[in-house]
Symmetry: C2
Subunit: 155 residues, 2 copies
Amino acid sequence: MWLSLKLALLCVAVVSVAMAETKDDAGAAEEILALEKAAMERWVTGDVEGYLKISSDNVTYFDPFTAGRLNGLPELSKLYRGFAGGFHFDRFEFVDPKVQLSDNMAVLTYNLVTYAGAKTERWNATMVYQKEKGSWKIIHTHMSITQPKLAERAE
Amino acid sequence: MWLSLKLALLCVAVVSVAMAETKDDAGAAEEILALEKAAMERWVTGDVEGYLKISSDNVTYFDPFTAGRLNGLPELSKLYRGFAGGFHFDRFEFVDPKVQLSDNMAVLTYNLVTYAGAKTERWNATMVYQKEKGSWKIIHTHMSITQPKLAERAE
């Protein structure tokens, strides 16, 4: 009987840990998605500071308009602040956001759709977050246009 | 004197651990870059199996030609095998590869340049690796064209 009881208690313990991990994972994914949405809510009004605030000092960055990768927050700040206030979107959607989570790093991916008047734009979005001193920070951003219509299609 | 000796030994221990971590980090970064280069060596000959072999079952994927994110190895395999053998590059370069490393996840970024005859193509490349059962696997790929020439430029 004692063995059964011990076994039962062990099972409860194992299940509790498993549930806690799952709950933690879901919590971390939700936290990251909430950070991203809050930053994007500011972004669509032309306010770039939300994204800069949650970007790591060591952030790396790709978009379709830069000649190569940007390295570090000073380079990213210079780029973002160069077009702060110069754009506006009426609304946005994150299509099918997904978080692939490790202990202290996470990959958030989604298709971003922005609407401005009659104009709709579609983007492929990758944001890698890392936990730094207890806070999730973006350490890598890769934005690209979904199925861009190319003037000259490379083979 | 004993205190000094203990302190010295402690310092040696701390420095040793720090060096080991640095060495491990450098080792992991080198290992990931070697995996990537080996896969790309096969890719440029039209052989897609190298990349599929090091991609996780849970890989997610963006490129400029897919309508949205691909999810999972079966979807990626179908895409890659659809154009296996149908392309060839004479050579390639990884420009400024960088690995941002966590315990068991790493972000590899570089600008890829491919050469085929007189044609040169430039890409922004993000590959997120995660350690699965002791082996580094790609859990996310995002490829996009560097500064694409667009037929109609969205605002």
